[in-house]
């Protein structure tokens, strides 16, 4: 018996020692860099905090611009700031609030919170996140800085041509918007790709889609909307920049273009943008309300449906921003109906929150997060109601471009996003700092912001109905708007006082504390005991509120009883699961901290900035260096199978490598190609739209000889695809170097690049000049859109050749190759479609000249 007891004790000690070693190893592997090296960090908890911080800083700066404007409008005939500065201030305020604060803040919360909620160790592409965040910080800082030097754009946040064409906006100011915001949008898309793949492929085992936290659903919808909405405005900014720089008449009626095309493209992005901001905000509320009410969310299924439906419907509403452009009454009728219909899914969410609060039977905690949620419910509902008013065309005709609209969208956006964000700061602060923000100050902050908001914006409904147009620099006393404007200004300063108090509280309390892991008693996984590596082990989930349903889960997770309680591969890793049922598939090694992605972001920013100020050659050098550092960063990502099947805990083993559609890298490329496809669909729409309004610039009888070049180009695309297909089927075993592999990749890349280059040469030889008409400009634009894809595939092919020579590409280690083929086939498909469309459509539909 004594011997058994000793044995048991010895086993226990050994188990404890093993446990301690495993935790030590996890800590060592996931330790973030300190000091100035902190910039090179990639872990979601660290860079997510940078992201939230930067977004809040831009919010504060854009808020200061709002105070400048409100001070200017406080009294009639004021000359506090010049008209030019006022124009720049409202442009930068709107642009920064939308592009530098609202969308990035939601994306930032996704980076910080989503991996914790789904119990992933990290996002699947940490260096991509780091790249996106630094690109955003650098680009945003430069953009905000333009107002200090008189270089800021002044055309309003939606930059309508013809005001923004070179004739009416000379200088580089408008270019800072076009190239700067274009650059920041690329960063948003990179983040969206990360979120989609993270959400679908790195959930805790058992967390099937029907058990996913509402916030993860919202981030999935949010990222999907970015993927389909942002390409439209990227195309629009590209076209406007090309028109400004090279006189291709996309938006100039004298060349057959149409300024309304910009409005279509901009609002096809701009209206979904509102829901891109609101849906994650609503999801924050859907996460906080159940905890504050201590009862599960009422109608989870309906809330998920409502989020998806609202996101989808929002793509069919863009025309309601254009009711006053002179469209037929029936067109506006369609979009008025669709705009009112979207109120139904939005209303479903509001009623679900109210029902959940009612379900608490008086136990709803009115702590600061709860107060901000009540504030949100009031403000957002009022904004939604005025939204239904402006969705009605006759009313919109009266209120359009007046302060009524300014009041409406501030009620929607501040109610739908800013109040939930403040609730989120108070609710999730302990995740980052292990410290709650002050409840006492929090109530003051809520009161100041809530009262200030209503004092500022409620009167604006009246100033708008009394006829005050938006964006006016000043107004005469006889207009009768003085008292209302002064009231609004007092309200704006009250909000500012609330925000200043919040910053004070944040500075005071944002430091490591020692409160419990789950101070609010939430039921979701982000409040499990966490370290830099996330939870000690990744739990198996069986319900939507696993911590409420199995309180012992917290202890079990912390004791390492579930998946990956150790480093299975010896480095940073996360568990990849199947997208629907979330069953373990393989262990993905995730990269550690590093500099290449930060330097790549810096050079990429340099490329866009130098291009803006027309320093073309230095810009190109920066572009080449950015690509070089991206290649350095990506070279080591595809490591091949190192250990084969590894122990992942719970008595299971899983491979440490995957290729093709199972691999998370393949998914990222697939999502990227959706972005490319959305970009091309926007081009397709633009072409057809311009043909509808200006058929006279299309040739009536095209010259048949024009088909020689496209025919050669099409043959090259087809030949290239055949070469890559044969190569894919004949990759050799590990360590084999095959000349045929090198040759086939080179032939494939060469043929596709040549095919993409021949097309514009053919257009030129056929006598088409892109500066002559919108038809010719749009014909060339197809080639412009193919160039980055063909160029990307060419560079990727060069990397694959190098990988094969280095023994890193074969029939087993082929994840990079599979990703390449996806890109390659898509590029070839788009190229072929472009040839067919650009040369076929004028022959079928013809024109009028």
């Amino acid at each position: 018996m004594a011997s058994d007891s000793h044995k048991t004790k010895a086993q226990e000690d050994a188990a404890k020692e093993r446990d301690r070693e495993q935790v030590e190893k996890l800590k060592e592997v996931w330790k973030p860099p300190t000091g100035w090296r902190a910039i090179s960090a990639v872990n979601n908890t660290v860079i997510g905090a940078y992201y939230v911080g930067a977004a809040f800083l831009f919010f504060a700066l854009a808020g200061i611009l709002a105070l400048l404007m409100r001070t200017q409008l406080a009294v009639p005939d004021n000359t506090f700031i010049s008209q030019e500065l006022y124009n720049q201030a409202f442009t930068v305020h709107g642009t920064a609030m939308m592009f530098l604060f609202a969308v990035p803040a939601m994306e930032a919360l996704g980076v910080v919170l989503m991996p914790q909620m789904i119990a992933a160790r990290d996002l699947p592409f940490p260096r991509l996140s780091s790249f996106a965040i630094w690109a955003y910080i650098i680009g945003g800082t430069v953009f905000m800085g333009t107002i200090l030097f008189g270089l800021a754009p002044a055309g309003g946040w939606f930059m309508y041509p013809p005001l923004t064409l070179t004739e009416y906006s000379p200088g580089d100011n408008a270019d800072f918007w076009l190239l700067g915001i274009g650059f920041i949008e690329i960063s948003a898309i990179a983040g969206a790709i990360e979120i989609v793949v993270g959400c679908l492929k790195t959930r805790a085992p058992g967390m099937s889609l029907d058990k996913m936290p509402i916030f993860a659903w919202a981030m999935l919808v949010f990222a999907g909307m970015i993927i389909f909405a942002f390409p439209a405005v990227i195309l629009a900014t590209l076209m406007l920049e090309i028109e400004r720089s090279f006189n291709w008449p996309f938006f100039s009626p004298e060349g057959g273009g149409d300024p309304l095309l910009w409005q279509h493209l901009f609002w096809f992005f701009g209206h979904p943008e509102v829901y891109i901001i609101f849906l994650p905000g609503a999801a924050l509320v859907s996460m906080i309300v159940p905890t504050m009410a201590r009862t599960p969310l009422v109608a989870y299924n309906l809330v998920v449906v409502a989020m998806i439906a609202a996101g989808f419907f929002s793509f069919g509403l863009w025309v309601h921003h254009m009711f006053t452009t002179g469209m037929p009454a029936l067109s506006s009728g369609f979009f008025a109906a669709a705009s009112m219909a979207v109120a139904v899914p939005s209303g479903i969410q509001v009623f679900a929150w109210i029902a959940t609060i009612a379900n608490a039977k008086g136990r709803f905690r009115l702590a600061t997060p709860g107060l901000f949620i009540i504030g949100m419910l009031i403000i957002f509902t009022l904004g939604g109601l005025t939204g239904v008013m402006v969705a009605m065309t006759p009313f919109d005709w009266q209120a359009h471009d007046s302060y009524f609209v300014v009041a409406h969208f501030h009620y929607v956006l501040i109610g739908g996003a800013v109040f939930p964000l403040f609730a989120a700061f108070y609710y999730w602060a302990p995740l980052v700092s292990r410290n709650l923000l002050s409840e006492k100050l929090g109530k003051w902050i809520f009161a100041l912001i809530f009262i200030g908001f209503n004092v500022a914006f409620l009167p604006m409904h009246l100033t708008g109905l009394l006829g005050m147009p938006r964006r006016v620099w000043t107004y005469p006393e006889e207009a009768g708007w003085s008292a209302l404007n002064l009231t609004s200004t007092i309200g704006a300063y009250t909000i500012a006082a609330g925000v200043a108090l919040f910053i004070f509280d944040l500075i005071r309390r944002y430091r490591p504390g020692s409160i419990s892991n789950n101070p609010w008693g939430a039921g979701t996984l982000e409040f499990l005991p966490m370290d830099n590596y996330g939870p000690r082990s990744i739990p198996r989930v069986a319900s939507r509120e696993p911590v409420w349903d199995r309180p012992e889960l917290v202890k079990e997770v912390d004791e390492g009883r579930y998946f990956l309680p150790f480093t299975a591969t010896g480095g940073r890793e996360t568990l990849v699961t199947s997208p629907i049922a979330a069953e373990p598939q393989y262990v993905a090694r995730v990269p550690s901290d590093g500099w290449p992605q930060v330097i790549a972001a810096l050079f990429m920013a340099g490329f866009f900035l130098l291009l803006t100020v027309k320093l073309v050659w230095p810009a190109l050098v920066c572009g080449v260096l950015a690509i070089a550092f991206i290649l350095i960063w990506t070279w080591s990502l595809d490591q091949g199978p190192i250990k084969g099947d590894v122990d992942i805990g719970c008595g299971l083993r899983a491979p440490d490598y995957a290729t093709g559609p199972v691999s998370h890298g393949w998914w990222a490329v697939a999502v990227l190609l959706l972005v490319a496809a959305a970009h091309y669909v926007s081009y397709f729409f633009s072409y057809l739209y311009i043909w509808t309004v200006s058929p006279e610039v299309w040739p009536a009888t095209p010259d048949p000889t024009i088909l020689t070049f496209p025919s050669v180009s099409a043959l090259m695309y087809a030949g290239g695809m055949a070469a890559i297909y044969i190569c894919s089927r004949n990759l050799g075993p590990p360590d084999a170097r095959r000349l045929s592999t090198l040759a086939l990749i080179a032939v494939g890349a060469g043929l596709q690049t040549a095919a993409a280059l021949i097309e514009p040469v053919g257009l030129r030889r056929s006598g088409l000049d892109p500066t002559d008409s919108a038809f010719e400009a749009l014909s060339y634009l197809a080639s412009v859109l193919n160039a980055p894809l063909a160029g990307g595939a060419f560079i990727f092919a060069c990397v694959l050749i190098a990988r094969h020579l280095a023994g890193r590409l074969d029939a087993v280690q082929r994840a990079s190759f599979d990703n390449f083929t996806l890109l390659y086939y898509y590029a070839a498909g788009q190229g072929l479609f472009g040839l067919l469309f650009v040369h076929g459509f004028p022959r079928i539909a013809g024109g009028g000249s």
Binding site: L209, D210, K211, V305, F312, A336, A338
Partner: protein, 119 residues
């Protein structure tokens, strides 16, 4: 461990199908009306719009009544039971919302002249 390949495309297609139908309906309505008015055939779009509303509305009604058909057609038999139930409910709710949206949009053509400009 066998790499599980559950197909997200089938799931997304299942729950998004009603919304896609709504999108197709809006595109047909706006597209036909805009191009018909641009090319001087003002009365024809009404027939197309009402026809599209009737056909697509019937399809959506079918999804409201029998969402299980869409789940089965999307490969839902391979999903966990909870997920199948979720997909059935989601498809039904999406179909109801889309039906409301499509009838609302299509109904506008009964009251407004197709090419009357408000300018």
């Amino acid at each position: 461990m066998k790499l599980n390949r559950d197909q997200i495309a089938g799931f997304l297609l299942c729950i998004l199908a009603p919304l896609l139908v709504w999108g197709i309906h809006l595109s047909i309505s706006y597209g036909f009306q805009a191009s018909a008015c641009a090319h001087g055939a003002p009365e024809r779009p009404i027939v197309w719009i009402l026809g599209a509303t009737a056909i697509l509305g019937a399809f959506l009604l079918g999804l409201v009544v029998r969402p299980a058909l869409a789940v089965r057609a999307s490969g839902g038999a391979c999903w966990p039971e909870d997920t199948q139930r979720f997909a059935r409910r989601a498809t039904r709710y999406m179909a109801i919302l889309s039906l409301i949206g499509a009838v609302w949009v299509g109904g506008a053509s009964l009251y407004l002249s197709p090419c009357l400009s408000m300018r």
